[in-house]
Symmetry: C2
């Protein structure tokens, strides 16, 4: 592929400032999905994006309205039906800029300082979208693409993608592809190109513990009723043992053990305990016995309390025995744990362990299925080769502690696996003030995607 590749790279080198200007226009529109007063800006962004797709040579473009914000679809099919189709997933909405007063620049007036582009959405993920678009444009200026490409670009990712499942379910034929390229997963460090191959799932619960009929005076009734706040503490405390094993009955039954080579791969990640201490500000780490911190945050299931409430929490003393107590907590899941089974295990645990002196009620508030992508999925291996070509370093394979639900949706609804990667850094301050994009990595990203797309020429040759 060397001649076409060189031409494309050269084109990009000569025009990268224009692509950067395009990105600046893109981030200038405040497409904040969490705040409905930005609805017009989101719609403007969707239009801007569909125009941009048209300008680089994508033929079939359609904007689908949802109950909230539009989905932009695009398709390039000149490679011909015998060639593979790549579905590029992305989102064009951004997080709110709050707290505004902590920004050193205007969040929607992009500025470059020390090789970084400061703006809301620069890293998450408008910059990542322009990576793919610049790569495609750079190739198309001199050649055809050796593969077909589809685009699925949504405007609701930062608010949990409320319409994406419906859309995917109703457009299976339209979205039919061979693999997904999702550049929303980032990289570990500037010199470590990264493939994310696993995502934890989630089972989120709200538990209520009810005691006396109404709040009681602790002087008059203290000593004879089981305080529901204490009962809640007992229930929550009982869910873990001293080695941080989770005690819901059967909790680990479905967990696929980590293989030896997977553990070796995870051990290569430059994430030691000092790193985690500096990120969290705690002096002593804890965790499940027998696993490293990296394994604990990404490849092992966990249980965390997110909120507790009971009784009087205002200023000063009030001597009340509360009538109820509430906790929100969730389990992060790993393959093949199922949220519905975890819910049943919680019910079993409560039936066996909750004191008979109180009444409890539990609700499942949300759930995501965990997923692991085969590290040997051919498109992933191919993308890894492209990363290695540009960085001259073997990419690391990591598992992500959080969930990216779209990856499960693509796999479960469409049967398509994803390549999960990207060029954002952990300290790009996504979701925080002073979000920024490292422009050196952004450039390498464009070159990687050019290399990746053109690698199919060779394959086809």
């Amino acid at each position: 592929m060397s001649e076409v590749y060189d031409e494309s790279l050269k084109y990009f080198q000569n025009h990268k400032n224009e692509y950067l200007e395009d990105l600046c226009k893109f981030v200038h529109i405040p497409s904040i999905s969490a705040d409905s007063s930005y609805k017009k800006d989101i719609e403007k962004t969707a239009l801007w994006l569909s125009d941009y797709l048209k300008s680089i040579g994508i033929e079939k473009i359609e904007i689908f309205n949802t109950s909230l914000f539009p989905i932009v679809f695009g398709e390039y099919s000149k490679a011909g039906p015998e060639k593979p189709t790549m579905l590029i997933y992305g989102h064009y909405d951004v997080q709110p800029a709050d707290p505004i007063d902590q920004w050193i620049t205007d969040p929607f007036s992009p500025e470059i300082k020390n090789g970084q582009l400061f703006a809301r959405g620069s890293s998450d993920m408008k910059g990542q979208l322009i990576v793919s678009l610049a790569a495609i444009d750079s190739i198309l200026h001199t050649n055809l693409l050796p593969i077909n490409i589809k685009f699925l670009l949504e405007g609701e990712e930062e608010i949990g993608s409320p319409n994406i499942v419906d859309f995917i379910t109703n457009h299976k034929e339209l979205l039919k592809s061979d693999f997904v390229l999702n550049l929303d997963a980032g990289m570990i460090a500037p010199d470590l190109p990264t493939i994310t191959y696993g995502l934890r799932g989630l089972a989120y619960f709200e538990l209520y513990v009810y005691g006396p009929e109404h709040d009681l005076h602790s002087g008059l009734f203290g000593g004879i009723v089981h305080n529901p706040a204490l009962a809640l503490c007992e229930i929550l405390t009982g869910m873990k043992d001293k080695e941080d094993k989770i005690l819901l009955p059967g909790f680990y039954d479905d967990v696929i053990p980590l293989s030896i080579d997977e553990r070796q791969e995870l051990a290569r990640l430059p994430l030691d305990d000092d790193f985690y201490k500096s990120q969290t500000g705690v002096n002593l780490l804890v965790g499940e016995k027998g696993y490293s911190s990296t394994e604990r945050v990404s490849a092992r299931p966990t249980l965390d309390i997110h909120g507790i409430y009971s009784g009087y929490i205002g200023i000063g003393p009030k001597t009340v025995i509360p009538s109820y107590a509430m906790a929100k907590f969730s389990c992060r899941l790993v393959p093949r744990q199922e949220p519905a089974r975890i819910y049943q295990q919680l019910i079993d645990y409560l039936n066996q362990n909750a004191p008979k002196t109180i009444r409890w009620e539990v609700k499942q508030l949300s759930s995501d299925t965990p997923c692991v992508i085969d590290r040997n999925f051919p498109p992933t291996t191919r993308f890894s080769t492209s990363l290695e070509k540009i960085w001259n370093v073997k990419p690391v394979y990591k598992r992500e502690g959080g969930s990216i639900p779209i990856v499960s949706y693509m796999s479960d609804i469409l049967g398509i696996q994803s390549i999960l990667s990207g060029f954002a850094l952990p300290d790009d301050r996504a979701h925080s003030p002073n979000e920024r994009l490292n422009l050196d990595l952004w450039e390498k990203g464009v070159k990687t995607v050019i290399n990746f797309i053109l690698s199919f020429t060779e394959a086809a040759d």
Copy 2:
């Protein structure tokens, strides 16, 4: 004392409707201390009360202003310096009438129905004050009193008596007496005249548990940091064992064990588990092993959580690891537990048991010393005899689970023991809508106090 006694009783019988009218005037003024918009009404009540004292023959009357509401002082000293002095403590302020819409009468327009006077303050404790004043007036109409009397009547009891300690401390000579008569403690049942001889103390704490520097994403960091909400649950759960013994080191060291005859006396109280279940609405009672429910709520120390807070407690799921957690809790104390020692025991417990993975901070928010009055304190025995004369039943001796701080203040600052009794019933709905006073008990109360005061004539004879 029979002739004077008969005269006084007869006078009261002939004039009880007038005393009742006086009480109606007294409760008509809305002396609500919790709401500053009633300040003028409180001051009006203090004036009304001082006029009333004057009208029944109390000579030395003074209204002391405080930073909030006035204290009414009065003194009768015609018995002569060799005779004992009784200090009558009472409060003329009342609770707010809310929720107003649940009243069947106007809370400040007293009405008599089925032998009960409905009005805010009728039972707690304007009716109890008129008991003493009617008794004194009934005697003074034909005779001198055989003892000296002082009055300490405050207008801030329902808001925690913020000025009483200062006042007592600065007026030791003025208040010098031999015993206190405090009729704010009520009786257990209409046919069971009651002496309250013990009050629990209180040590109230606020505990903060600090984890990560800021809230963390549970997907990215779940599994390696000790969740402070869970750490708080562990700390609180660890404070009690399965038999409801409190595990603060040395917690029971200072507790005076209940004597056999005290337990027999408490067992006489008509308070069985069904009573406590109906009062609390719980199906199963709990409590410290080896003690009855009555002992548990009144004569044994306890630990109760009043409030807990951590993290996200709004609607829906939010996957945060909170940076801190907070709990408010208190111990009810019995003689001779000291709040300051309990604080130290809590610190010791935390030093020994709080996980090293979190940081904690504890504050003592309030404290009351527990007290037990010698059941053989001669004025108490004498009052008990008067109760028995009127009811033809031996009075019961009970311990109260809550604290009445004024009793400790009198004892600790002035060195004066209190007779704690009264003619209010548990279902008089003090602090609730439709407060009422049982007029039969009120009448018996006046006769009891007449009998009690005149009993000193005999003693002096």
